[in-house]
Each structure stands twice: as structure tokens, then as C-alpha cells.
Symmetry: C2
């Protein structure tokens, strides 16, 4: 069984922290998602409820006649006080929390936001209850994709950033009784 | 700085264990290597001395005017008594050693062959003395590619098989002062 993870494309507000914030997808970001899924054959689609994932998921599912499930647990990490702000803005005012998050996200959650352990818990719970009867496309965000990559490859926590991940990034796994194996990875537009 | 790892394409003796054995590349394997490197821009090429890597490396380097270094340390694991035999043949005669190698290659070397720790030592030594002044293509084998992937991502030993790896597989990393990050992966022909 094959599972494809797709990150949403570039948004209309590039560079701002947006977790719960529902920033719209840019036209180029939508085009990049079409390109990243060209030739893809799956039987089911699961999407984050945020519009930058969901609207494309609806169009793709309709085009191919694939059933679509919108699953709130695949939304991005809640960045709390950082929502809608750029890293440069945060660094100018209070760099400590952001630098600590970059250095060690396991123990430094965004202020007023969600911890990495909480995000991991909801993403892995959503992974465990995924449809298992078909090849699957999951349209989601950078945080959930990093955590699932880490989980399926058995990466240690400190390797979370060893994946370059831009808008419209795509990760493909094959799953069988032995476990999950990485078959394709594309870091997306922006590299 | 970018580093691309390329596995040789399919050989004329598919399915046999070949480490020190210099099995020739099949025509389709050579075509797959040209396809996997289409559009690639590097400034240097390093190749295993085995002909299934080296002959393509010479042709590619000549075509682009890239300097080529043939580096014995990038050759495949020496499979000892298994050289030239298929897994089915080995399993029919003496399955224990092969099954132990699949289960735990760290502590079960091929009989008369090379241990994984020895292979890791020579591959990581070759990695440390690689040319660092340019984007680099390294043309090598499955074993060295798995070990370097494991090393650069910080994977634990037991995750060695979490990478699906067929002939002409390609792995791309970007390297900077922060470390290595995976940018592209293609499991190659055969999936």
C-alpha cells in the first residue's frame, strides 16, 4: 500500500507563522500542488481542514472521483502568539523563545501555542486511524509531515530539521507487513 | 553545497549478490543512469571503481567536462561466500546466515565477507575526505548509500532498511554549516 504526503503550496502570506491562521493559498501555490500530484494514482484523499489544503483537496478529489475525508487532526501546529508574524518580527522583539524553539522544539513550545509532543500525539493518532483499504494521499502541513517522516523512519527527535521542506513538498512511502519504507521525496518549490 | 548520490543501474546479472564481483551494467541500467542524472549540475564526480559505476561515470564526466575521481572506498560491501549467488540459492542451502544478516546486519556479516561496521568505516572515511569545493556527484552502490543516508539523517542502525533502494536510485542532500538536509530522493527503477 502506498501513502503520499503533500504539503500545501505557497500562501498569499509567505514567511509568516500560520498554524491555526487560515491564510489563503497563492495561485502559484495551487499550481505547484497540481504539478506535484500529476500522474498520482490513489484511491482516497485525507486533508487538513485549513483552506490552503482543503480547497485543493476538494478540486483534486472531484477531478478523479476519489473520496475525500477532512480530518482536523492533520492541521498545522498552533503557533500561539507567533501567528501572523514573521521570524524577523519575532526575533526583533523577543528572540529567546523562537531561538529556543528552533534549537529544541521538543521542550520549547511557541508561547500560547502547541507543544511538539501535543502535535505528535494528534498526528500519530490520525495516522493510526487512517483508511487502510487503499492507496492514500494526505494533504497537510510542514509540522505534521516532519513528525510522520520522523516516526516512520525511526528518526531521533534531534533529526527533525534534517528534512528540507518547502511549499508543495511531497513524501511517498510504501507500507507492508515489514513496515514503512521511503520511496520518493521532493522538498518542493523554494529550493 | 549539494551532494548527489547515484546507485548504478540494473546489471546483466540481476538478483545475485555482487560486492567485489565486477558484474557488467545492462544497457537498460545505463539508460536509467542517464535519465536519473538528466539536468544535474555538479562540478565534480566521484565513482566506485567497479565497472557498473565507473564506465558511466567516465562517460558522464567527459560529456560535461567534470573532473572524475575513482575512489576504491566507494565500492560495494564484500559479500564473501554469497558473491554471484541469488538469495534463493543461498536460502535453499544455508538460510541461517542470510536471514541473520537481513534481521541484524550490524552483528551478522556475510560468511567470508565484510562486516557492516567495516563498510561503514571505509564509507564514512571516504565521505570525510570528499572534495569540498564544489557540488558533488558520488556514483556508488546500495550499501554505501544506505549507510551515508543513515549517517547524515542521524538514523538508528535498525532503520537501515527503511529506504526502498532499486537500481539507479538517487539521493540529494544540501550541506551547510548547520549540517546535511535531504532535498530529493528517488528509489529508482524497479518499484
Amino acid at each position: 500500500m502506498n501513502v503520499t504526503l503533500l504539503r500545501h503550496g505557497a500562501t498569499a502570506r509567505p514567511g509568516v507563522y500560520a498554524g491555526r491562521l487560515d491564510v489563503p493559498l497563492a495561485a502559484a501555490g495551487r499550481a505547484a500542488m497540481w504539478q506535484a500530484t500529476r500522474g498520482l494514482q490513489v484511491q482516497r484523499v485525507v486533508s487538513s481542514p485549513l483552506s490552503r489544503c482543503r480547497l485543493f483537496a476538494e478540486a483534486l478529489a472531484e477531478r478523479h472521483g476519489w473520496p475525500l475525508t477532512v480530518e482536523p487532526a492533520w492541521r498545522e501546529m498552533d503557533f500561539g502568539d507567533w501567528e501572523g508574524r514573521t521570524a524577523a518580527e519575532i526575533l526583533a522583539q523577543a528572540p529567546e523563545a523562537l531561538e529556543a524553539f528552533w534549537r529544541d522544539p521538543e521542550t520549547h513550545a511557541p508561547p500560547g501555542g502547541e507543544g511538539l509532543a501535543d502535535l505528535r500525539r494528534r498526528v500519530l493518532a490520525a495516522w493510526e486511524r487512517r483508511p487502510r483499504d487503499a492507496d492514500l494521499l494526505i494533504i497537510t502541513h510542514g509540522g505534521p509531515m516532519r513528525l510522520l517522516f520522523q516516526h516512520l523512519l525511526g528518526l531521533p527527535c534531534e533529526s527533525l530539521w534534517r528534512l528540507e521542506l518547502h511549499p508543495a513538498a511531497r513524501i511517498d512511502f510504501v507500507l507492508d507487513e515489514v513496515g514503512a519504507r521511503l520511496t520518493q521525496f521532493d522538498c518542493g518549490k523554494g529550493h
